[in-house]
Amino acid sequence: MSHQALIAILLLSPFVGFLLNGLRYRSQNYVLAGSIATGAVFVSFICSVMLMMDLIAAPADQRRLTANFFEWIAVGGFKVNAGFVVDQISSIMILIITGVGSLIHLFSIGYMHHDKGVTKYFAYLNLFVFNMLILVLGDSLLTMFVGWEGVGLCSYLLIGFWFSDAAKAAAGMKAFITNRVGDAAFIIGMFILFFSFGTLNMYELNALAPTTVEASWLGAATLGTLMLFIGATGKSAQVPLYVWLPDAMAGPTPVSALIHAATMVTAGVYMIVRLNPMFVAAPNTMMIVAIVGAITAVMAATIGLTQYDIKKILAYSTVSQLGYMFLAVGVGAFGAGMMHLMTHAFFKALMFLGSGSVIHAMEGEQDTRLMGGLKKYLPITHFTFLMGWLAIIGFPLFSGFFSKDEILWQSFASPRGSVFLWVAGAIGATLTAFYMTRLMALTFWGKSRVPKEVHPHESPVIMTIPLIVLAILSVVGGFIGVPHLIGEYLGHIPNYWAEWLAPVIKTLPEAAAPHTATQEWALMTTSVTLALISAFVAYRIYTSGKGTNEAIAKAFGPVYNVVNNKYFVDEAYFGGIINPLVKQSQNLWMYIDVNFIDKTTHVISDMTKGAGSLARSFQTGNMQQYAMYIGLGVVVVLTFVLMR
């Protein structure tokens, strides 16, 4: 089959699935709905694999398969095609989306089987995959934006899936509104780029990107990319717009795994990598990206230390890991950022699904204070979760180790990196190890605090298979991009990842400062050692039962209070933006509107009333008289025209 057909099937298959399920959304036949949805995504996955094989077979400089289906918009010089591109970057994304996606669909069949809205759920999930594929494959910013908004919609629908619970509906709205802020910036960014470069096609934009680095803050590339990045902070939950992601855990757990961990939230990173030449030309933007990433990584990690809800911990962990990705792309390590995107998709999806399995076993309970000792009830979940844990804390030779280590090294060694960024990254890694170990300890290890009426049980096979597959990927996934240094040490493993991405990644124009292998080994050892130590400490604290809420609060005092309240960011937003806005709107209504605008309109309306009562005498209600007036009017006009 031609690649156009493959791309068409790839895109349409989830959409057809959406239609098939969406048109019979009242059905409660979870087997049928799940099979349709999973099948649809799996078909897409097969297409992705075939496309990937086509790409690999092609020569390195011709790895780009395009499909222009039709001209979507043509207004004057502004043309946008419904064009879709599979290249080195998007091929990885579609594999992740459809691969991890089909596993999560499979998991959902087991997880959602008791739910009344199961068909609707699968319809939304398929719609999400469809939109995500549009986002990833679209060849122009506008096409990407369509997908960008589409995934936002699906995210809203799925966060508020159990909308009869007011808090969950509110969480959906919060996500939607917070994203709107970012989307506005994204649109402005598109305007700036189109105004300056005359196109929205990303390949043309990349080709047109300034070759010299923009030093000014007001350059087109800098402003445009900055705005796009603000858009990305909304979608990818970065400081200051990260607040929606923890609340988004109100949705079903597989949704959190698919949308809020593996795919949608990484769209911002993907966008930056996709436009990397443009970002490379704007070092000021890159600096801000890196700083925001570092701040997010540390801040989210600290909040994660105090949470007790199993999904909230994972949510803050996601925010923190996304911070890492932005740190990576901010210092110009686009390959490392993509690599971490992929490994994170594996292990975070695994952990979310694992948490789903735990919640399933606990009959809906999410509080880790009521768990503990689940290891013996849930052996498979525990083992797979363990693999994910090892990956995320960066245990050597697990997938997270390679990607995180590469990011840390690049944040130090890249010409746009600095030692401060490395320190922030290392602190983040240490904290990550701590809170993840805390999660493991509270959930699986130690003594059981499970209430008597709950009887934990291992999940059915349909849920454990995805866990096992993802666990395998989490363990070995890193070997696709082994950093040069370690690769040499392990026996000349080449860095496939970097080779694969090299043609589409623009290298930084600045010369890198010379670094030695010793430095790299030293930094790596430092960060890994710190992480392992903190993991050990956390293990000791939380398995011994000393790590209770009160004990920690006493030990850290006000610091704990601040962190436990998430740095009062939500409160700050309410106090600083939302409440003043409401108050000022009320003032406008009470004083300006009532006294000024209404009075003006009243005067005008009174005048109209007066004129109307005059004209009313003509309104006899006799329709034929009206018609006669029209006729006479035509006569007058025609006479005037003819006499002229």
Partner: protein, 108 residues
């Protein structure tokens, strides 16, 4: 301009005058008749008159847009007739009355 016989050589004027005559007849119907439905029919007559001139212009100006306009006019005429008749029927059902003067009571 060559000498033409008004009876044997049919040109644009012929169609336009025919259209004008039909239009005026429709107009007279609207102004003078009292039956609501005959009024509606007179409006249809006017629209048809306009259609004739559209098609005539289309033919004699070598421009197909005129026929497109006829298409649109027909659609709107059909819509108008549908609504007009529905109104007439519902009013007739309620008041047993189709005299246009009766509608003066609706002026409010």
């Amino acid at each position: 301009m060559p000498e033409t016989n008004i009876l044997t050589t049919i040109g644009l004027e012929h169609y336009l005058v025919l259209s004008a005559v039909l239009f005026s007849m429709g107009m007279a119907g609207v102004l003078l008749r009292r039956n609501l439905i005959v009024l509606l029919m007179s409006i249809e007559l006017m629209l048809n008159a306009v259609n004739i001139s559209f098609v005539a212009f289309s033919k004699f100006n070598n421009n197909i847009e005129g026929q497109i306009m006829v298409f649109f006019v027909m659609t709107i005429a059909a819509a108008e007739a549908a609504v007009g008749l529905a109104l007439a029927v519902s009013i007739f059902k309620r008041f047993k009355e189709v005299n246009i003067r009766f509608f003066e009571h609706l002026k409010g």
